[in-house]
Every structure is written in structure tokens, then in C-alpha cells.
């Protein structure tokens, strides 16, 4: 059991971590989701012992971890940059930590061979690191972490610097590896900025923002019941659209000419001011809808991201397929209000379309 209690760190007046508490159990997969600079890397480095925090406690299996120097903690970490030892070949890269552990030659040979097979780098044992592609370099880093069989595996946005296709592929493999290999008695902590990736990895989700953990729980729960507007923003890409509204007479009044019909179940929602939220993929371009002006339209893979505006009210839509839109073109838009989230004026969740949590 890895337990963090009120870990805080401030560097030069800037908050890096603030009252971060967590409990991670062996066999668990923990995904830290947060925007850039939310404190994800700092948290991982604190667990590894590379960063010391100002206050708070960190213990592993009851042992005070802060007293154990990095090199004795027996953790493994993969960075978003492809960090390997440039002066070693692939085999020696993976064998290096095992040699430091003082394992026997046979054991090292066996473990390296196995992890090379796991990451699919057979035949590359004697290659130099510089001769490998980015994806292969990251596989080496992964293999080195796996071969160590550490109790704690930290993955700091390991896929972010790979191109789109490779990222998809490696993500699948990584997920399988973690499920089959690591989940028995190790703790895996995976950090990412990508909500989709976090969803696919599943496990326990820790949402971080400005050095704090603002919500934690099973991934599906967090997606279905974001505790606050901020969580809803971070756990959706593009961000969830959030509009201040007035709930009155069975509909949400947003602005002049924009009213959204309330979903079927509005129990617990009081009349008056509130915030409504809806995901970008709950917007469709459809005749007869509200007219919005296209501000920007970009194609992302098989989808199109469209920035729309009507008066003061703006939103971002994500629609399937490649849609050809001009700037300043006026398009009719329909919002699927079946999936409307309702937050109070204090930005906490009042009503989720998935009903109440239990």
C-alpha cells in the first residue's frame, strides 16, 4: 500500500503540490489526469524520490518512504522524453538496473530476453539507442522498467511524444502488458493529459489541477459524475461546454434567443441560476437548429473540431467525419439535451444525465 498524506510543495512562491493525499493498493492501476503543469510529473517524481516535498508524508507498506533514497526505493519510471542510456546498446540498457541489483548473469539474461520479447524488440539487442526510432526508444525504456519488476511503476505521459498512429498501437500493447503482467502485486501509476487515454486505461482516476487532486474514484464514475465544472473541463477533450443559465419554466435560458429544453429528469434542480454543461460530441449540425457562426474549424483525424459562436455565447463541437466549413459561415446547430449536466452556481455537480452515483 502506497499512501500519500497531505503532500505539499512550493518552489519560489509557486505551488507545485498542495495537500495531495492518496492511497494506492497493490494490484491497482492509477491514472493521473490533468492539464500540463497540473503537478502530475512532480507527484510522480515525489513518489520516486527525485523531488522532495515541503510537508506531508509518504509511506510504502508502512515504511516511511521519505527516509529511503531514490536508488533504494525500487521503483521504475518511464518519462515522456525517450530517456535511455545513449552509451549502451539495447541489451545493456535493460540490463543496467538488474546489474545494479546484483542479479546473477543467467537471471539478467533471462529477464532481459523476456522483457525484450514483451515489448517486441527481438533482434534489436545489440543496436545502439541512436539507431532506433522514437517508438522503439520508448519501448526500450518500457522494457527496462518491466525487467526490474518493481513494486511501483510510474509512467509519465509515456506516449505523448509519439505520433498519433504509434500512440494508439503502443497504448493497446501497454494496456495488455499492464493487465497481464503488472497488476498482480505492483502499483501502476500512469499520468496523461488525454481524457480518452485515461478512459481507456481505466482503473482509479485521480484528476489533478493546480497541484491538487480535485477528484478521485473509478474512471467511469468520474466521467459520469464530475464533481465540479473544472473536473468536467479536464476530463473532456475538447473541454465540456459550460454555460451560465437560468432554469425557469422547464427550460434553461442561456442568452437572448438561446434556450435549452430541460432533460426528462430534473429532480433536485432548483429554479434559478445554474451552469449547464454538455460534451462537444453532443452537438450536431442539423437543419432547423440554432444558428451559430463558425469561428474556426480544424480536422483531427476522422473528426472535425468546430469553434462556434452566437453573440456572447461560444462552444466547441466535435462531429464525426470531415466537415468542410468556411470561417464566418452560419450553420444550424442542435444540442442533445438528454446528456445535459447541471452544476450549481458554486460550480459543483447538481445533476448528471447518468442519474445519481449509486
Amino acid at each position: 500500500m502506497l499512501v500519500g498524506d497531505k503532500i505539499s510543495l512550493e518552489v519560489g512562491g509557486e505551488t507545485h503540490l498542495s495537500d495531495v493525499s492518496f492511497e494506492m493498493a497493490p494490484g491497482g492501476l492509477y491514472t493521473i489526469l490533468g492539464r500540463t503543469l497540473a503537478g502530475k510529473t512532480t507527484l510522480l517524481k515525489s513518489i520516486a524520490g527525485l523531488t522532495e516535498f515541503d510537508s506531508g508524508a509518504l509511506s510504502s507498506s508502512g515504511q516511511d518512504f521519505t527516509k529511503v533514497p531514490v536508488w533504494q526505493r525500487n521503483v521504475a519510471m518511464v518519462y515522456q522524453q525517450f530517456i535511455n542510456y545513449p552509451h549502451f546498446n539495447v541489451f545493456n540498457n535493460i540490463a543496467f538496473p538488474l546489474r545494479k541489483k546484483g542479479l546473477s548473469k543467467d537471471e539478467i539474461q533471462k529477464r532481459v530476453a523476456r522483457s525484450i520479447e514483451q515489448v517486441g524488440l527481438e533482434g534489436f539487442e545489440l543496436r545502439k539507442i541512436q539507431e532506433l526510432s522514437g517508438g522503439q526508444q520508448q519501448r526500450v525504456a518500457l522494457a527496462r522498467s518491466l525487467a526490474k519488476a518493481s513494486k511501483i511503476l510510474l509512467l509519465d505521459e509515456p506516449l505523448v511524444n509519439l505520433d498519433y498512429k504509434l500512440r494508439e498501437q503502443l497504448r493497446e500493447e501497454l494496456k495488455d502488458l499492464i493487465d497481464s503482467e503488472f497488476n498482480k502485486d505492483g502499483i501502476v501509476v500512469y499520468s496523461t493529459t488525454d481524457p480518452l487515454e485515461a478512459m481507456q486505461f481505466g482503473g482509479t482516476l485521480l484528476v489533478m489541477d493546480e497541484g491538487r487532486i480535485i477528484q478521485q474514484g473509478p474512471a467511469v464514475d468520474v466521467f459520469e459524475h464530475p464533481a465540479t465544472c473544472r473536473v468536467a473541463e479536464i476530463t473532456n477533450d475538447p473541454s465540456m461546454n459550460l454555460w451560465p443559465a437560468t432554469f425557469t419554466g422547464g427550460q434553461f435560458h442561456i442568452a437572448e434567443g438561446i434556450d435549452l429544453p430541460a432533460p426528462a429528469d430534473t429532480s433536485g434542480v432548483n429554479e434559478g441560476a445554474c451552469i449547464v454543461g454538455f460534451r462537444s460530441n453532443d452537438i450536431r449540425i442539423e437543419a432547423g437548429g440554432l444558428e451559430f457562426v463558425v469561428e474556426l474549424s480544424e480536422i483531427a483525424g476522422s473528426e472535425t473540431i468546430i469553434h462556434l459562436r452566437r453573440g456572447e455565447t461560444g462552444m466547441i463541437a466535435r462531429v464525426e467525419g470531415v466537415v468542410d466549413l468556411k470561417m464566418n459561415e452560419v450553420v444550424p446547430v442542435k444540442i442533445n439535451t438528454d446528456w445535459l449536466y447541471i452544476f450549481g452556481t458554486d460550480e459543483t455537480l447538481v445533476k448528471s444525465p447518468f442519474g445519481s452515483k449509486d
Partner: protein, 282 residues
């Protein structure tokens, strides 16, 4: 128009080449002259304009007792002092540079940048300012006119160069490399010696080259701090200048003293063209 530019470009290169090479060619020609060829006005081409002789070169290997200059001994002294001082400066300077690049220090109001500046600022001191107190200090310890004494002084000359180049170099080596080594079970020393250092060879080579250059070419300290026992090459050659000015042996000796560092020029260019200098020199 374009060909005009290109002509201009090569003309400029040719002019500077002539300026760079000129003194060497003159020295080469002079080294084969004798008294009469020198004193009868400027001559350039052997056999055509004057009768060449090897006297200027031969005299360098003869002992003073036989009327020679004996350049071999100061040559070895120079080599010894320069390599020893460079080795110590690189070793200590590299360690300090690594500390300054990776860790945060605070001694009162003194922080990393101030310590780095302290190292580098030693280059501001002109040799003449330091030579008088060094003279007194070395004579107190009985180190005047010894290799050890000179090496001590040269460390002040060379360590700033090592620190300057290596701090910049280490700043370019990703921190994550050391961190990965620590995570993989290295203590900080193992991380440095087994992981960071093997990947810092370009920086080390450049720093070594600069230490060798500035050590080998220094004159003033050895001029003040040595007399007869440990003369260094520049001192011996300049001493030739003040006597009856035997231009031929002077030129030959000068060419010999310049020769070893030509190798350094090749090494520096190699690292320059490979782009390894860009981070090291800023």
C-alpha cells in the same frame, strides 16, 4: 552578379589565408638561414635567394655547453606542466560544474550563479597582479622554480575554463538521464561516473583542448616564477630574442613550439563541424 559575389568571397578567403600563413612561411624560410643571409636584407626562397643551412635547427638539440640552446628539456617541462595542470583542472572543474548544473546551493546570499561567476571571474585577473603574491607564496613553500609550483598556479588559470565549458555542457544534458540512473539503482556518484560522464565526452574533449591551449601558450607566470631549473618553452625561446637575436634558431624553435597544438586545431574543428561546440561555447 552572383559570380562577382563568389569571386569576392574567395578573394577574402585568400587574403586572410595569406595573413594567417604569412608569418609561418617567413619563419620557415628564416629557420634555414645563417647570419649573412639574415643581415643582408629580406630573403624568401632558399637556394634561389640564399644558401640554406640546418644550423638553426641543429643548435636546438645541442646542450648549452656545446654552444646549443637545448630546447628538448623546456619542451618536456612545458608538456608536463600543461598536461598535469589541465588534468587536475578538468577533473576538479568537471565535478564542480556538474554540481553547479544539477544541484541548488545556498551559502547565505551566495547562490549557484555567484559560485559559477566566482570560478569564471578568475580569468579577469591579469597574470602580473597575481604573480607577485604567488612569487612570495611559492617561495614560502619552497615551490619556486618547481613543476609543482607552476602546476598550482596554472590551476587558477585553467580551472575557470573547465568550469565555464562544462557547466554549459551539463546544462544541455537532460536531467532525466541522471534521474533515470538514480531510479535504476545508482547512487549519485555512480549516476555521474557511469552514466553522465560517458555521455559527456564531447564537452570533456573541448574543455581539455582549451585547457591545453591556454596552458601551453602561457608565458608570464613561468617567466616570473621559474629561473633555471624548470624553464618552460616560451621562456626559453623569448630568452633567445633578447640575446644576439639568432633569427634562424628562434624561428626553428618557434615552429617546434607551435607544432603540437596544430593537432588541437584539427580536433577542435572536428567537434565544431559536428555541432558539438555549439552548446559548449556560449
Amino acid at each position: 552578379m552572383r559570380s562577382f559575389y563568389i569571386t569576392l568571397k574567395y578573394l577574402a578567403i585568400a587574403l586572410w589565408t595569406a595573413f594567417v600563413v604569412g608569418p609561418f612561411l617567413w619563419a620557415l624560410s628564416t629557420s634555414f638561414k645563417d647570419f649573412s643571409s639574415v643581415t643582408s636584407g629580406a630573403k624568401y626562397i632558399p637556394w634561389l635567394q640564399f644558401k640554406p643551412t640546418l644550423e638553426g635547427w641543429n643548435v636546438l638539440w645541442r646542450t648549452p655547453a656545446r654552444g646549443g640552446v637545448d630546447i628538448a628539456e623546456p619542451f618536456m617541462n612545458s608538456l608536463m606542466v600543461t598536461t598535469l595542470a589541465s588534468a587536475i583542472s578538468i577533473a576538479l572543474g568537471t565535478l564542480a560544474a556538474y554540481a553547479l548544473s544539477r544541484y541548488t546551493f545556498k551559502f547565505g546570499f551566495v547562490k549557484n550563479n555567484d559560485i559559477t561567476f566566482f570560478f569564471i571571474s578568475q580569468r579577469i585577473m591579469p597574470p602580473v597582479v597575481l604573480s607577485i603574491p604567488f612569487f612570495i607564496m611559492l617561495s614560502k613553500f619552497g615551490l619556486l622554480d618547481t613543476i609543482a609550483g607552476l602546476v598550482t598556479v596554472y590551476i587558477v588559470l585553467l580551472m575557470p575554463i573547465a568550469v565555464w565549458i562544462m557547466v554549459d555542457f551539463f546544462n544541455k544534458v537532460p536531467r532525466e538521464l541522471d534521474e533515470t540512473a538514480l531510479i535504476d539503482g545508482c547512487n549519485p556518484f555512480q549516476a555521474f561516473f557511469q552514466v553522465v560522464l560517458p555521455n559527456s565526452i564531447p564537452g570533456l574533449v573541448v574543455a581539455t583542448m582549451f585547457c591545453l591551449i591556454f596552458g601551453w601558450t602561457d608565458f608570464f607566470f613561468s617567466f616570473i616564477l621559474t629561473f633555471t631549473e624548470v624553464q618552460l618553452l616560451p621562456v626559453r625561446i623569448v630568452a633567445l630574442n633578447s640575446s644576439i637575436t639568432p633569427w634562424w634558431s628562434l624561428s626553428a624553435a618557434a615552429l617546434i613550439s607551435v607544432a603540437p597544438l596544430l593537432l588541437v586545431a584539427f580536433v577542435v574543428e572536428r567537434f565544431l563541424s559536428k555541432g558539438n561546440l555549439s552548446g559548449a561555447l556560449k
